[in-house]
């Protein structure tokens, strides 16, 4: 279990992490979601005691990180940066970390095997591809067989096979009852792996919810209808007890009904339809909406640094 309480990090005037309070629970994958620069990595570094919080507190199983005896046996982390000496072999990289925490060398062979790097264990890390580097980082996280695992953007730079491997790994770790905390800037990635979701934007907590709740609340489903007899269609829909909204391109969006019901209703009134399609707003859209709101809130209160224009936020999303 990881508990954050009012965790705050300020760099001069800039607030990177703003009063974060949430708990990461065992047995599930908790996704940590936010745009690039939202403060995810800073938060993770504070959890590991690498960065000192300006205010607030973070505890690992009720204890401060620096009080943990052999911390790698409590919490293993893959941080975003590669963080391996290029001239050192994968085996020696893991061995020095293992020795510092009293982990037997046999465990180094086990984790190398688990991530599929046994064949290149004696090779220098500088020859490793991005994917191999990620695997080495994951091997380091697994080294102490910890109850808590933290991954910062683990699928970055991986090929489809590697991505699939990481998703399966995270789910199986959680199924073993471990705490799994994984960051991403991609909602689609989280939707596939996470059971619980913590969303931050500009260092602030925006949502702390189960994945199912988030999907239910944020993925609006509706039916798109287009007809040359638009006015009549509106009347008919209204008569059928359905509310339709203009979509802006001449089509209508009908909430709370199905394509079948609308199609049959239109047929009964002999209306011509040019389009009849069920739609679902993507989670990605819901997510952009959420972070965009946080920006508006910032600008509205005028607190802290001036917020960047909203368009910039959207742009950072589509790029990611």
């Amino acid at each position: 279990m990881i508990e954050l309480e009012g965790l705050t990090k300020r760099y001069g005037e800039k607030v990177a992490v703003n009063n974060l309070t949430f708990t990461v629970r065992p047995g599930i994958v908790t996704g940590f979601l936010g745009p690039n620069g939202a403060g995810k990595s800073t938060t993770m570094r504070m959890i590991l005691g690498l960065d000192h919080p300006t205010a607030g507190d973070v505890r690992i199983d009720g204890t401060h990180y620096h009080r943990l005896k052999n911390p790698l046996t409590y919490i293993g982390a893959l941080l975003e940066a590669k963080g391996v000496h290029p001239g050192r072999s994968a085996y020696n990289h893991l061995l020095c970390l293992a020795q510092s925490n009293g982990i037997p060398p046999r465990r180094v062979h086990e984790v190398l095997d688990a991530v599929g790097l046994t064949a290149v264990a004696r090779k220098k890390a500088k020859g490793f591809s991005l994917g191999m580097g990620q695997r080495l980082g994951i091997a380091a996280a697994l080294l102490g067989d910890p109850r808590i695992l933290m991954f910062d953007e683990p699928v970055n730079g991986l090929d489809p096979e590697g991505i699939h491997w990481i998703r399966t790994l995270m789910k199986s770790l959680a199924a073993q009852g471990r705490t799994v905390f994984v960051s991403s800037h991609l909602m689609s990635e989280m939707a596939l792996t996470a059971d619980h979701l913590v969303v931050i934007g500009q260092g602030r907590l925006l949502a702390d919810t189960s994945m199912a709740d988030f999907i239910e609340r944020n993925s609006r489903s509706y039916v798109r209808v287009r007809s040359p007899q638009r006015e009549r269609l509106l009347d008919v829909l209204h008569g059928g007890g359905m509310t339709a909204a203009e979509s802006g391109d001449g089509a209508l969006e009908v909430d709370g009904s199905t394509a079948e019901a609308i199609g049959e209703l239109a047929a009964r009134h002999q209306l011509t339809l040019h389009e009849l399609s069920p739609q679902q707003a993507s989670l990605e859209e819901a997510f952009m909406q959420l972070t965009a709101e946080s920006v508006e809130y910032h600008a509205h209160t005028g607190a802290g640094t001036p917020a960047p224009p909203q368009q910039q936020w959207g742009a950072s999303w589509t790029k990611g």
């Binding site: 690498l50 960065d51 790698l72 940066a81």
Partner: protein
């Protein structure tokens, strides 16, 4: 978390990178080769020296002449041992594994210093004996007054240079910045400050100027240095202590990146 575990881990780190081998080998080879060369040249020069210069002729000190260049490799060794952690990003993994930053830093320094001490002592004795062999009839003997102290002192001097560099690198973090300051300082600036009359009085309190006094056996007749060989090494040790305290305080206070 025991210090023994961390020391073992740091030993694995230091023995598993190539820079350890090449920096230390370079320190040994350059110190000995240059010491032998200058010893051989001094032997040929001896007959043309004035009576005053002959009185100040210090065969022990001459055989250590290679250290002025060899110490630069020791500086690189000391800087890389510490700053590698930062330039590679390994520091985050290291401090996540060992959050007690004092234990981390001083285990690293202990391992690197022990290795530097072994290499430096061997180098010092080797350069002395090989240098004396080059000096022929003008040579000093290890049993002469103050010679053993000078040879052991030479080993301590090189070790302290490495340790000082580690402290500076712990403060500055960047290998390029650390080397960019230490190399010209020890190779040029310190020598200039120590030899120009106007700055001599201050210059001789610099770490290398004060520390190298330990390798001197024959006092030059006009020498008015206010400290003896061990006093000089003590001054150097104070510089080293200051660099280490600075490095420790900054490591403790800063975010790890």
């Amino acid at each position: 978390m025991t210090a023994t575990q961390v020391v073992r881990s740091e030993w694995t780190k230091i023995r598993s990178v190539a820079s350890t081998v090449w920096t230390l080998s370079l320190a040994v080879v350059v110190t000995i080769a240059l010491g032998m060369l200058i010893s051989a040249l001094s032997r040929n020069e001896f007959d043309s020296l004035s009576a005053q210069d002959r009185a100040a002729f210090d065969p022990t000190f001459i055989s250590f002449a290679g250290m002025s260049l060899g110490q630069l490799a020791m500086i690189v060794f000391g800087v890389l041992v510490v700053s590698n952690e930062y330039s590679t990003g390994m520091i985050r993994a290291s401090l996540a594994a060992v959050p007690q930053r004092g234990t981390f830093l001083f285990s690293k320094l202990a391992v690197a210093t022990a290795l530097a001490l072994v290499v430096s002592m061997a180098t010092s004795f080797a350069t002395f004996f090989l240098g004396q062999a080059m000096l022929g009839e003008h040579k000093a003997s290890i049993g002469d007054d103050g010679v053993l102290r000078a040879v052991i002192g030479g080993g301590l001097y090189m070790t302290l240079i490495a340790l000082f560099s580690m402290g500076v690198a712990a403060m500055l973090r960047s290998p390029m910045l650390s080397l960019g300051i230490l190399m010209p300082f020890f190779f040029l600036i310190s020598n200039i400050l120590g030899n120009v009359d106007a700055t001599k009085k201050v210059g001789r309190f610099l770490p290398d100027q004060a520390g190298s006094k330990i390798m001197q056996v024959v006092q030059p007749p006009d020498d008015d240095t206010p400290y003896g060989p061990w006093g000089g090494l003590g001054i150097m040790a104070l510089w080293v202590a200051a660099a280490l305290v600075g490095g420790y305080v900054l490591l403790k206070r800063r975010d790890a990146q």
